[in-house]
Structures are given as structure tokens and as C-alpha cells.
């Protein structure tokens, strides 16, 4: 909730994520930040962005922010109120451009743990599991991972790989049988933005948020991080974006006040 320069971390993450979503593409979204990123994109540069929910909502005109992936708001005035079989088939068949993922642990290849901390059968902390994450990470063309980074979260090795990133590197997804031309596209954290242009499909820092240094990023990462030759600085959320978020998308502060 730290507010610096007139925007919060959440607003920054949402704004950065929304800019990655291109007009006239499709995104499979969950609740929370991804949904706000998708809705913000629709209200700014990507009015033709199709938002899809795994429980069956396709192309809704959401009157208020849904609080669940199956909430009736996710199919309010939709083009179709369908089913999980339909939406997951749509994604598996190759129709979905973007997917969003969160993570409790993330490794340098973009592999994600949302299942368990510690040993699976004797867990230190039990987490919700895959949900649709493994499916999103397997089927969509480009997945965007949003995570608040620190050394406990950006780890050398996940305790459990719930959702595939690039597995152990170049070509590993294809060898495992996952669909071609899929995989993590960007990681967005409170410090910066990463792609997977590092050696053997590893995370590479491509942009720093305003006021953040490479050293800050290194201090919050358990593995060695590559830095892109041309390192950008994130464009912070505009006043207009912040207004849309608070006035039109989440006036109750369901996500924004987290």
C-alpha cells in the first residue's frame, strides 16, 4: 500500500500489466490484479481486448468488479455464458493470447509454485494448488506473472513446480509435450519488469520502476539475474489511469485497497 509519487504499488503493477495487453487480443484472467489490468486496458488502449474467465464467462461487460472467477459479474452481458470445458478447450486449441499467473515461489525459468511450501506430504505451509494456473501456463501463448518479489519468493528452485515456466530451459516445454510457442512472457514485480531473454530461457531484467536500482533487484532475488543491454525505466501510471481504476473499475477498493 506504500504510496510514492502519487501512486501505489498495486496501481503500478496494474498499469504496467495493462500496457502489455494488445488491442484485439484475448486474455484469460483471474480475480485480483489481472482482472483490473484487463479492465484498465479495455478502458484505455485496448477496447477490443477479449476477457475470458475459466468458469465460462466470455466477453462480459462487467458492471462492478467480480470477486470470484465464477461470480455472475464475469458473465454479465457477456457474449457467452459457457463452461470450463469450453473455455479450457478454447485455450488448449490455441485461441488465447495472454494468461496471468501469480506465484508463491518463482524460479529463474519462470516455473511457479502455488501448491506447497516444504515437502508435499508433510507441508510446512499448504497453498491452494494449481487452480487454473497450470492450464493457463500450459495453454496460453504468453503468460504474465505478477509477484511481489523477495528472496523467499524468487528462488533457485521451487519446492514444488505447480505450473510450467520454461522448465529447465530452451526446448524443454516442447520436449515435455506442452504446446509450441507458449510460456512466460513477462514477470512484473514491485521493482521492475523481466522477460526470458536470459541465457537458456532465464529471467532478464528489462525495466526498473522509477527510483529502483539494479542492486535493489539483486538484493531481492535468490538467483543471479541477467540485465538487458538496454534497461528501460517504467512509465508510471498516469493520473487518468488512476482515476479510471478508482472511479470506474474498483470504487469499493476490493483490490486497490489491499
Amino acid at each position: 500500500m506504500a504510496e510514492t509519487n502519487g501512486y501505489t504499488e498495486n496501481e503500478l503493477l496494474i498499469s504496467v500489466a495493462s500496457k502489455l495487453l494488445e488491442d484485439n487480443t484475448s486474455a484469460l484472467v483471474g480475480t485480483g490484479l489481472p482482472m483490473l489490468a484487463g479492465m484498465l486496458a479495455q478502458k484505455t488502449h485496448a477496447p477490443g481486448l477479449l476477457l475470458i474467465f475459466e468458469a465460462g464467462g466470455i466477453g462480459a461487460q462487467m458492471p462492478t468488479l467480480p470477486i470470484s472467477v465464477g461470480d455472475s459479474r464475469t458473465f454479465h452481458r457477456a457474449v457467452a455464458a459457457s463452461s470450463m470445458h469450453d473455455v479450457m478447450s478454447f485455450a488448449q486449441a490455441g485461441y488465447v493470447d495472454f494468461g496471468f499467473l501469480g506465484a508463491a515461489q518463482l524460479d529463474k525459468h519462470g516455473n511457479i509454485n502455488t501448491t506447497v511450501i516444504g515437502d508435499h506430504d508433510h507441508p510446512k505451509a499448504r497453498l491452494p494448488g494449481s487452480g487454473g494456473a497450470n492450464d493457463v501456463g500450459s495453454f496460453t501463448r504468453r503468460t504474465i506473472i505478477i509477484i511481489r518479489q523477495d528472496k523467499r519468493r524468487l528462488v533457485e528452485k521451487c519446492d514444488f513446480v505447480t505450473t510450467p515456466g520454461y522448465l529447465d530451459g530452451e526446448g524443454a516445454r516442447e520436449r515435455a509435450g506442452l504446446p509450441k510457442n507458449t510460456g512466460p512472457y513477462r514477470v512484473i514485480t514491485q521493482l521492475g519488469v523481466f522477460d526470458f531473454g536470459g541465457k537458456n530461457k532465464t529471467m532478464r531484467l528489462i525495466a526498473l520502476h522509477p527510483g529502483v536500482t539494479v542492486a535493489d533487484v539483486e538484493a531481492a532475488t535468490s538467483f543471479e539475474i541477467e540485465v538487458a543491454p538496454k534497461l528501460d525505466t517504467t512509465v508510471p501510471p498516469t493520473a487518468k489511469e488512476i482515476e479510471i481504476l478508482h472511479r470506474e473499475i474498483d470504487p469499493a477498493g476490493i483490490v486497490l485497497k489491499k
Binding site: 468458469a55 472467477v69 461470480d71 470445458h85 506430504d121 469499493a252 477498493g253
Partner: protein
């Protein structure tokens, strides 16, 4: 088609299709008969200890909560449960000690509302075992296979992960492309519970809005208990037969339970009761709190109507109707806590 990898998860709810056919021949009937009964009768008749159960709906949406509460009231034990983005149902059953094991796609969390203290405690203490992992699509297709009467459905998820390693699926070489695919084993749960907006006394059900997994899940069930907001005349069904999502042949019990999804949402009819969900989330941080919740809302009431009274009665229900219709703002304690 050579097998590459075999998940070590327990194969819950899988039946050789021939064995399942024999079970159907013996236990199911296509006769058009009146299946109305009370929730208590349905639970007594169809959910013995040790059953493998799966709940329709999703998260906190369209859940047959009156059946869930009745399972708790009757102290059913050693149930296995499908954690198919089961959320509130799963969490309260875990909290009540009804569950011995589960297969998880999404459990232990209430989406935006936070994690589930009660069921996490159950698993972290070893009282309940997670015997298999899968994903939402993984579950969806387990039920598709169960509906179709085939042993598995091929797919392209799970591959390369620990989710596969801890699942009951296998990976194999597809003989048409020479590439690996995952084979997701079918499931026929012992009992499926489902809440619908309307059905007739035979069990012909209509559902408004998204179906989630319920088309396939209802058809894969061995026993299917349907609770409904309203029992309508057969005529309502026959005049628009394309609206029938679940035909009667799959249904074993029809129970009329208005507001039967409460505190979960019923699309177009009523919103989540975030106050009750919030109360559960707060109380379930301790075992004492769990008991307090159940004493108040399950053991302390004789049936679902009395439960609804205790949850706020008609004023509350009217409020939830109005929120669902976008006429009022929701009241959520977890939201209030966030005000800066």
C-alpha cells in the same frame, strides 16, 4: 503409445468403464419417477461414511450448501472430496472433520478473501491427506471422461511439472503425432451435490448463466443430489427442452431449498453473504472458533430455514437479492478491514 511417466497420486473415483456400466445397470433407472425428498433423507440415503463426493458450482457460486451443512450435522466421516475449485464447501467440511482425503485443483483458499485457516490446519497437521494434485482443466476432463464412459481424456496440460508427478495422470507418446500427451483418468464420484435455480420433480434441471463443470460433472456422478430454488411443473421443462442442462435420468434426489446456495452466490438471484463467509474466516482461525460457528449455524438449528433465520432472515436475504441485482452495495467485513 509408450508411457513416459506415471503420476503417483491416488486414483480417486476411477472405475473401469465396464465396472461403472455394471454399477449403472444395477443402480440407475431411466424411469420417470418423482424424486422429491428432504435434504436429510437424501444425505441419509446417498452419502454414507467414506463416500467420494464432488460439489457442483465453483468457489462460492451455486453450491448446494444445505447438503453440505446436513453432512456436517449428520457427522459423516472419512469422506474423500474433489477439491475442484471447491472453496467454501470444502473448507467447512474439512473444518468439521468430515474429510479424510482430497484431490486438489484449488482448495485451501477463498480467492480474494484470503486463505482457509481451517482446512490448511487440517492438512498441515496431517489430519487430512492430499492424495493427488491436478488442475481445474484436469478435473474438468476427469468428469468429461466419466460422463463419456471412457477410461481417460488426453490433454496438453500438467506436462513437465510436479503437478503431474503428484497427480493420478500418466504421460504417453501420442501415436498420431509422436509427441507426449497427458492421459487424464476419468472420474465417477460416488455422490455429486448440485444446486440449480429450477427443476421438475423428476430432476430435469435448468441452469441460468455459466455451467462451470456441471454439465459433465452431473453426468459423471454415480449418485446425483440436486437441490433447487424452486420445483417447477414438468410443463415448464417440456416447453423449452433445449434449456434442460441435466435431464432426469442422472438425478437421484430432488430437494426444494430456496436460498439453498447461501452464503454462496446464486447467479441472477442472490449475492454472496460476505458477512457469514467473513464470520467463518475469522472464527475458523482456531478449532474453538470452528466449533462456535458450527454450534451456531449447524448443530444449533434444526434445518436450513432456521439457519437462514439465524444468518439474518428475510431482511438479509432481500439485501442479498438487491446486491445481486446491482441495487445495493455488498457488505463485506474483509473489505471494511482494508479501509485505509
Amino acid at each position: 503409445m509408450d508411457i513416459i511417466e506415471e503420476g503417483k497420486g491416488e486414483l480417486l473415483g476411477f472405475h473401469d468403464p465396464d465396472e461403472q456400466r455394471a454399477w449403472i445397470a444395477l443402480n440407475k433407472s431411466t424411469a420417470l419417477v418423482d424424486k422429491r425428498m428432504t435434504v436429510a433423507e437424501a444425505v441419509e440415503k446417498f452419502i454414507p461414511d467414506g463416500s467420494y463426493i464432488a460439489s457442483g458450482g465453483f468457489g462460492h457460486i451455486r453450491v448446494a450448501m444445505s447438503v453440505i451443512y446436513e453432512i456436517i450435522r449428520r457427522k459423516r466421516r472419512n469422506l474423500a472430496i474433489a477439491g475442484k475449485t471447491a472453496v467454501h464447501d470444502f473448507d467447512v467440511l474439512m473444518g468439521a472433520g468430515c474429510i479424510a482425503k482430497c484431490e486438489t485443483a484449488y482448495s485451501f483458499g477463498h480467492e480474494l478473501r484470503g486463505l482457509s485457516p481451517a482446512s490448511r490446519r487440517a492438512v498441515e497437521s496431517g489430519r487430512v491427506k492430499v492424495v493427488a494434485e491436478t488442475s481445474n482443466a484436469g478435473y474438468q476432463w476427469r468428469f468429461l471422461g466419466g460422463m463419456m464412459g471412457v477410461p481417460f481424456i488426453p490433454a496438453r496440460n500438467l506436462l513437465g511439472t510436479d503437478t503431474l508427478k503428484y497427480s493420478s495422470a500418466k504421460s504417453a507418446i501420442d501415436p498420431f503425432t509422436g509427441k507426449p500427451v497427458v492421459l487424464i483418468p476419468s472420474a465417477n464420484p460416488d455422490v455429486v451435490l448440485m444446486h440449480v435455480p429450477r427443476c421438475d420433480k423428476y430432476g430435469n434441471c435448468q441452469i441460468d448463466g455459466i455451467l462451470i463443470m456441471d454439465y459433465e460433472l452431473s453426468r459423471s456422478a454415480r449418485r446425483l443430489i440436486v437441490t433447487t430454488e424452486e420445483i417447477v411443473d414438468e410443463e415448464e421443462i417440456r416447453k423449452a427442452p433445449w434449456r434442460t442442462v441435466i435431464p432426469y435420468m442422472y438425478v437421484d434426489a430432488v430437494c426444494e431449498v430456496p436460498f439453498g446456495s447461501h452464503p454462496c452466490q446464486m447467479p441472477y438471484l442472490y449475492f454472496f453473504d460476505e458477512e457469514i463467509i467473513g464470520e467463518w474466516l475469522a472464527l475458523s482461525k482456531t478449532d474453538e472458533g470452528v466449533n462456535e460457528f458450527f454450534d451456531k449455524y449447524v448443530f444449533g438449528v434444526k434445518d436450513f430455514n432456521e439457519y437462514l433465520e439465524r444468518a439474518g432472515g428475510s431482511a438479509k436475504l432481500e439485501h442479498l437479492r438487491r446486491v445481486e441485482r446491482l441495487e445495493e452495495q455488498m457488505r463485506a467485513p474483509w473489505l471494511k478491514g482494508k479501509k485505509e
